[in-house]
């Protein structure tokens, strides 16, 4: 169980890199950046494999990834904050409502961009990754209460944005 062992480290990458990638993507909404940072973090740990342990590995990844993402954001503040870089594919179910549903989906996704990053991560981990509150809490090392609060706040915000948009 040595991080310096190549085959083992590849397994670790396969197991955890997806989680780090999703976390960064949902939080900062930039797929290219999320991929780059994920690879950088895993390379950094590989390069200094003797200094790291498997214990609390996931929270280590998220902490390192988050720090790196914030550094990059600081560097490139030119980027438009609400430039939608993540788009969820839309799958209509009932053909009659295609237009209406699609319209609503676009509204919802643009509202999603305006959410606070911490709320967006938790909301999307729940809605898209289908994780339970408890799982999310463990993964992000926060309490279930915090997870619930963030999801509720996210829901209230999205609702108010939808109502707001309906007026026009």
């Amino acid at each position: 169980m040595n991080l310096c062992e190549e085959a083992f480290y590849v397994k670790i990458y396969d197991r955890y890199s997806e989680d780090l990638y999703k976390f960064l993507l949902y939080k900062y909404q930039d797929s290219q950046n999320a991929e780059d940072i994920t690879q950088n973090i895993f390379l950094k740990i590989w390069e200094n494999c003797k200094e790291y342990h498997l214990k609390n590995f996931k929270s280590l990844l998220f902490t390192m990834g988050n720090r790196e993402a914030l550094n990059q954001i600081k560097k490139q503040q030119t980027r438009d904050q609400y430039d939608p870089l993540v788009n969820f594919s839309y799958k209509p179910e009932t053909p009659e409502f295609i237009i209406e549903e699609k319209e609503f989906d676009l509204k919802l996704q643009s509202a999603l961009q305006k959410l606070k990053p911490d709320q967006r991560v938790v909301f999307l981990l729940h809605r898209v990754e289908k994780k339970k509150y408890k799982q999310i809490a463990e993964e992000l090392e926060i309490s279930v209460k915090t997870v619930e609060k963030r999801i509720h706040d996210a829901l209230l915000f999205l609702r108010s944005e939808i109502v707001e948009l309906k007026k026009y």
């Binding site: 999703k22 690879q39 895993f42 390379l43 594919s89 898209v128 999801i151 509720h152 829901l155 609702r159």
Partner: protein, 295 residues
């Protein structure tokens, strides 16, 4: 139940749509239902499989780079250790004089050491560059070029100076330092003494003493000023210098000698040392001297 609790339980699948609709009202329910349904249909974004290949390649190059640098570092370290130990080893200088022979050693900084017979001097010319340290056993006259601290280690003490001329005798348990010019620091018998020009120290009386009747060129080649050296040591020194043996059965060698020790004329040297004690001498063979009371 509060609305918050209802919504959260609903999201986790603990409440049915009907229950929620009853709790929060139809209008609110419809609004949230749309959000929840739409977001549930969002597909988790897929990463390209090429990213994995890309990462594995990067991993390999990091591994190679690490291996290369560690091997390089290892070789560099071995090389450096080898070179420096060879340098230090071959830089060891060891000068030994036999009975009857003296030698003048000049170190690269210009300092000269006149090594009396039956003495040895050693230093490492690489390390000397940094610490100006030499080791002496026996008798030697030093003329040190001013610079960093210059240190002489000998069995009975340690003498350090900045630049001066001085003489050390260290034989068996006897230790004697005479300073001709400048200042020297002497460490012996667990104490430290500073000697100024024309002062001497020896470890039997454990005292500093002054002498005035010697000119500064007493550090020249043909004589040496001895300061309170016990008579047996002086006799030993004479036998070292002139390669002679003494029979001292007829006299008792007590007291200390102050005065000139002549290097290049045995008759003069013997007279100089023995007459003040009221002793005389007779030659038996070419290299055998009997010391007798003076008539």
């Amino acid at each position: 139940m509060e609305n918050k609790e209802v919504l959260l339980n609903w999201l986790e699948g603990n409440l049915t749509d009907d229950q929620v609709e009853r709790e929060i009202g139809s209008e609110e329910f419809q609004l949230y239902k749309k959000i929840i349904d739409a977001s549930a249909k969002w597909e988790s974004p897929k990463r390209k499989s090429t990213h994995r290949e890309e990462f594995l390649t990067k991993m390999q190059s990091v591994k190679k780079r690490k291996a290369n640098t560690s091997v390089l570092l290892k070789y560099a370290a071995i090389f450096l250790i080898g070179i420096s130990s060879v340098l230090v080893f071959f830089a060891n200088q060891n000068i030994i004089t036999s009975v009857g022979n003296t030698e003048i050693v000049t170190i690269f900084d210009g300092s000269t050491i006149k090594l009396a017979p039956n003495s040895s001097l050693s230093y490492n010319s690489v390390l000397y560059f940094f610490n100006r340290k030499v080791t002496l056993e026996g008798n030697a006259l030093f003329n040190v070029i001013p610079g960093n601290s210059f240190t002489v280690n000998s069995p009975n003490g340690e003498v350090s100076v900045l630049g001066t001329s001085f003489n050390i005798i260290d034989r068996e348990d006897y230790f004697n330092v005479v300073c001709f010019t400048g200042k020297v620091a002497v460490k012996a018998n667990k104490q430290e003494v500073i000697l100024k020009s024309l002062e001497g120290f020896e470890n039997l009386s454990n005292k500093k003493s002054k002498f005035n009747d010697v000119s500064k060129d007493s550090s020249n080649n043909s004589y040496l000023y001895l300061n309170q050296v016990p008579l047996p040591m002086v006799i030993k020194e004479l036998s070292n210098y002139y390669n002679v043996e003494f029979n001292t059965d007829a006299v008792s060698l007590e007291g200390t000698f102050n005065g000139l020790f002549i290097n290049d004329n045995i008759e003069l040297a013997l007279k100089n040392v023995l007459y003040p004690f009221n002793f005389d001498f007779e030659w038996q063979k070419d290299n055998f001297v009997v010391i007798i009371p003076r008539q």
